[in-house]
Each structure stands twice: as C-alpha cells, then as structure tokens.
Amino acid sequence: MQYFPFVVVAWILAVGLYGIVTSRHLVHQIICLIVVQSSTYVLLLGVGYVTGAVAPYYFDVKVHTPAVDPVVQALALTDVVVEAAVTALLCSFAIQAHKRFGTLDPQELASLKG
C-alpha cells in the first residue's frame, strides 16, 4: 500500500473533473474546481512525507531529528488561502451571471456561441 495515497490523488482529480463536466449549476462547478485543486494538495503533501519522522518544528526537538519536508507544506498552505480568494472571484462571476441570465445552469448560458 505504498502507493495508496497517490491512487487517491488520481481518484480525486477524476471526481472533480467529472463534476465539472456534468454540472448543471455554476456554484457546483466552482466547488468541483476546488476538488480538483484538493487533489494537488494531497499529491504535494504526500510526496513530502517521511515515514517515522516528526514535524519540522524545532522548538523542543533537536535539529538533526528526521523531519518531514517543510517545503511542500509551505507551498500547500499559501495555495489553500489563495484558492479561497480565487474561488470567491469565480463565485462573484456566478452571482452576476445569475442576475443577468436568470439561471445558474452552465448549459443555459448561451449568449456566446460559434
């Protein structure tokens, strides 16, 4: 089961993409986008794990104790906060779309075609 977390990554990615493709509601679609990004967090944090190691905080732990990779944690934490803001931006598009089109169904937003 050494690769189980990575199988989960692929699964989450597939689920998120399936949600986007079959969605009939814009907010649902935007949340599925978050699901797709979650798969990247699992991947990043998964590759940085070291079995039997501690968290990389040396307040009460000596410096040369084996610790997990801090770099992926740094990448993931900034990404989470930024994604929340970008999702807010997309949701604001959805709000205005609802006001203009009267619907939140992406398949009914038909003003641009061809």
Binding site: F6, L13, D69, V81, A88, S92, I95
Partner: protein, 253 residues
C-alpha cells in the same frame, strides 16, 4: 454536445488521463520515502541560519519568500477583481425603502448565537493576532492568522446585522489596509535592496533565542504584513458578497 454524449466522451478521455497519471504516479519513490535533498537541507540549516524554529515559515517567508510575494498578490488581485465585478451597477439601489422601514419584519437573531458570537469575538482576535505574530516559532503565520482575524469580523455579522458589520469594516479602510499589507511585503524586499543586498534578504537582526517572538529577522515582520493583507482581503470579499443580498433586489420599493 448533448449531455449524454458529453458524458461518454469524458469518461473515455478520463479513463485515459487517469491511467496515464497513475502510470506516472507509480514512478514515485513511494509514500513515506521522500528522497530529498531540498527538504533535508532546509531542515538542517534553517534553524542555524534564520533562528526560526518554525521551519515552514522560514521557507515561506525566507527561502521561498519571493514565491510568497507572488501568492500574496494573487490574493490582492482576486480581492480587487471581486470588488470590480460586484460593484454597484446602474439600476441597483443600495438600500431600498423596504430595508429601512421601521416596521420591517426583522427575523430575530437567536439569543444563543448572539451571545456566543459576542463572547468569541475578542478571543478570536487575540488568537488570530497570536498566530500571525508567531510565524517563526510554531505552525502558524500570516496566512493562517489573517484568515482567523477575518472570521472575528464575520462573527460580528452573525451576532448582529449586516449594517453593523459594514460600519466596522468600511470599504475604503479595508482596501487601504490590504494594500498596505501587500505593499509592505514587497517594500521589505526593496528595503533589502536599499541596503545593497538581494531582494528580500533577511537583513534584520536574528535575535538571541531561536523561536522567540523577536527573532528570525524579517520573518515575523513579513508575517505581520501578510496577516494584515489576508485579513483585509477576506473581510472585503465577505463584505462584497453580503452586500449583494441588499443589491439583488432590483426594482423593489
């Protein structure tokens, strides 16, 4: 494309893409077997070089600080985008007569919610502030602390009415605080340049005790600015979204 067609085409494509992805994933060293060297080198030198016991923050605001500037400005641009898209347009009035009528039907806030919100607001502000200022010591930092600080303001909305919340966080001030936070981070980098060092070099004194509040040079300072920016950005976003509940009633009253 008809939905059924689309689903089939997607399933075929996804099967291929997932198989391809898994094929690559099985080339990784295996869960728990991180090969290094990036993480291991940082773990062994970060404490000595930056006097920060919180290595993740040392990476975020020190070694990969330039990345974090970019991420922070993504947040900044997203908040600016939300403000642009949700601005008040022609034909929308901010407060219709219905909303202001003295005898309007105000659904009462539950007493329990009000009490909990008011009790929690103070401690949450302190908690958020504590997180934002201890980046170099513990698993905390500007991003985490900033989000929690923003929730304190949102609790005010939960406890009372939206208009009270708005009075606590006027748009101009929030915008300015956000810009100071983002600009402050970029400016610290320029200050380093002004001293003849590379952009974002950690030029402040490292302090005596590693992991103390006043240690690790620019890391806590940057974390403070980031906290300001993140908190202001989320307050702004929530305020804009909540304001839409007033504006969406076009043509009423």
């Amino acid at each position: 494309m008809k939905p059924a067609q689309r689903r089939w085409i997607f399933l075929i494509g996804a099967a291929g893409l997932v198989a391809f992805f898994l094929w690559g994933l099985f080339g990784l060293p295996g869960f728990g077997r991180y090969p290094g060297p990036y993480g291991f080198i940082i773990n062994s030198i970060a404490l000595r070089q930056t006097y920060a016991t919180g290595t993740v923050s040392a990476v975020n605001f020190g070694y990969r600080g330039f990345d974090t500037v970019g991420e922070e400005f993504i947040l900044f641009a997203a908040a600016a985008g939300v403000s642009t898209v949700l601005r008040r347009l022609r034909g929308e009035r901010e407060r219709s007569a219905v909303d202001e009528a003295a005898d309007r039907d105000v659904p009462p806030t539950s007493g329990a919610v009000r009490m909990m919100a008011l009790i929690l607001t103070g401690p949450i502000v302190v908690f958020g502030w504590w997180l934002a200022s201890h980046a170099q010591a513990s698993p905390s930092g500007g991003f985490q602390g900033g989000v929690i600080l923003a929730t304190a303001f949102i609790l005010v909305y939960l406890a009372g009415e939206f208009l009270v919340f708005k009075r606590f966080s006027p748009v101009g001030l929030t915008d300015a605080v956000e810009a100071v936070g983002a600009g402050g981070f970029a400016a610290i980098g320029v200050a380093a340049v002004g001293m003849g060092l590379a952009y974002l070099t950690n030029f402040l004194p490292k302090g005596q005790f590693a992991g103390a509040v006043s240690s690790a040079g620019t890391i806590p300072l940057i974390s403070f600015f980031v906290g300001l920016e993140v908190a202001a950005a989320f307050i702004l976003i929530v305020a804009e979204l909540l304001e839409q509940t007033l504006l969406i009633r076009r043509g009423d009253g």
